[in-house]
Amino acid sequence: MGNRPYSYRRGGWMANIIIKGKSNFGRTRSEQEQNLRKEWGSTITDEQLDKIKHLERKAKDKFGSNPNFVSPIDADEVK
């Protein structure tokens, strides 16, 4: 059982569970953009990022879901 500690209270060996998500880099384009700027740089302008956040909020209000991959093509349509 290696070095895992024994639980006398429960009478069993301790074990670890590693929970992996599909991606922790961001579920939406705006989350991905903000994380990407910490690593490599930007893919859109600050103005487009604000517009994409706006579109994501609108989509969440309308469809109840916030993971949306909004492209700057859509953001440019926001006036």
Binding site: M14, A15, S42, I73
Partner: protein, 305 residues
């Protein structure tokens, strides 16, 4: 990395305390895409890395496309820049197969300097940089360089009519890309959208940068949309070939674009329908710069040097 610790009893982990999942656990809503991949031609590795995080990026775009599935997103980092010849270029021939539809390939560029254009450069002396058999590809911030390529195409969107094995011309989108001395060529399809892109001819004007939409497949191609694009000649010389060639397309929209001087008509259309709207040309009038071929022209301006 989150961990849950507890005694293992009869095959189960027992947890005495309340458990609060902060993230990455059974999300309520499915992601519209499956995974994110990263490509870094300087620090990445195709053999050692998973491509799932920026610090474990792949080295090539081809590797990322090969492991990606439909709906995935690929972020690509520019190569190094040198004073003498600008940014180094990815030199791959990549094919996006039919099953990998709705794929996004996005260059990471400095958007604070949009005038310079996308820094992520991609070229291949052997032929087409990107061949697309899958529908709904999204390309962003990439710079394609195709000087001297005999096929003339930097990007080839394939289409095979009713065989339905090649659908690259369907619903593809190109945003903020640069194409120099090469073409985005589509063989047909429905809904190709090219926006905010810059097309440059070769330095001596011999190879145009532009869009070539021809119905090779004869399958009623339609809804080609080109907006907010700039078409430029070579180094102080006009382009020797047309910037946009459209044949047998329906519902074409070319709007809000700027066309530099051209030795032939800037737009050559044939047997097509649609509108050219609010564009700016160098020439005397629409007859001097457009072979209409069935397209209507409205709201354009013409400047003569």
């Amino acid at each position: 990395m989150p961990l849950i610790k507890g005694p293992k009893v009869k095959g189960y982990i027992e947890v005495d305390e309340n458990v609060r999942f902060m993230r990455n656990v059974a999300t309520r809503y499915a992601l519209p895409w499956s995974q994110i991949f990263f490509v870094d031609g300087v620090n990445g590795s195709d053999t050692k890395n998973t491509g799932r995080t920026p610090d474990r990026a792949f080295a090539t775009i081809a590797k990322a496309v090969s492991v990606a599935a439909r709906g995935d997103v690929i972020y690509v980092r520019p190569l190094l820049a040198t004073y003498t010849h600008g940014f180094d270029r990815y030199t791959e021939q990549v094919t996006v197969p039919l099953a990998k539809h709705d794929l996004s390939i996005i260059g990471v560029t400095n958007s604070l300097n949009p005038e310079f254009g996308p820094k992520l450069a991609w070229t291949t002396p052997a032929g087409v940089c990107l061949t697309v058999d899958a529908p709904a590809l999204h390309v962003e911030n990439l710079g394609f360089f195709a000087e001297g390529v005999t096929t003339g195409a930097a990007v080839l969107l394939t289409h095979d009519a009713t065989a339905y094995l090649k659908r690259g011309g369907d619903a593809a989108t190109f945003y903020n890309c640069t194409v120099k001395a090469g073409l985005i060529k589509t063989q047909g399809g429905d809904g190709l959208y090219i926006r905010n892109c810059i097309f440059n001819a070769m330095w001596d004007g011999t190879y145009a940068g532009g869009i070539y939409a021809v119905s090779d497949s004869g399958h009623n191609p339609r809804r080609l949309k080109i907006r907010d694009c700039t078409f430029q000649g070579g180094n102080i010389v006009p382009s020797a070939a047309a910037y946009i060639t459209v044949t047998s397309f329906g519902a074409v929209l070319i709007a809000d674009c700027i066309f530099d001087a051209c030795d032939v008509d800037a737009i050559i259309a044939d047997d097509s329908t649609g509108v050219i709207s609010c564009c700016h040309f160098i020439g005397a009038d629409d007859d001097a710069v457009i072979t209409k071929g069935g397209l209507l022209v409205t709201g354009c301006t013409y400047l003569q040097t």
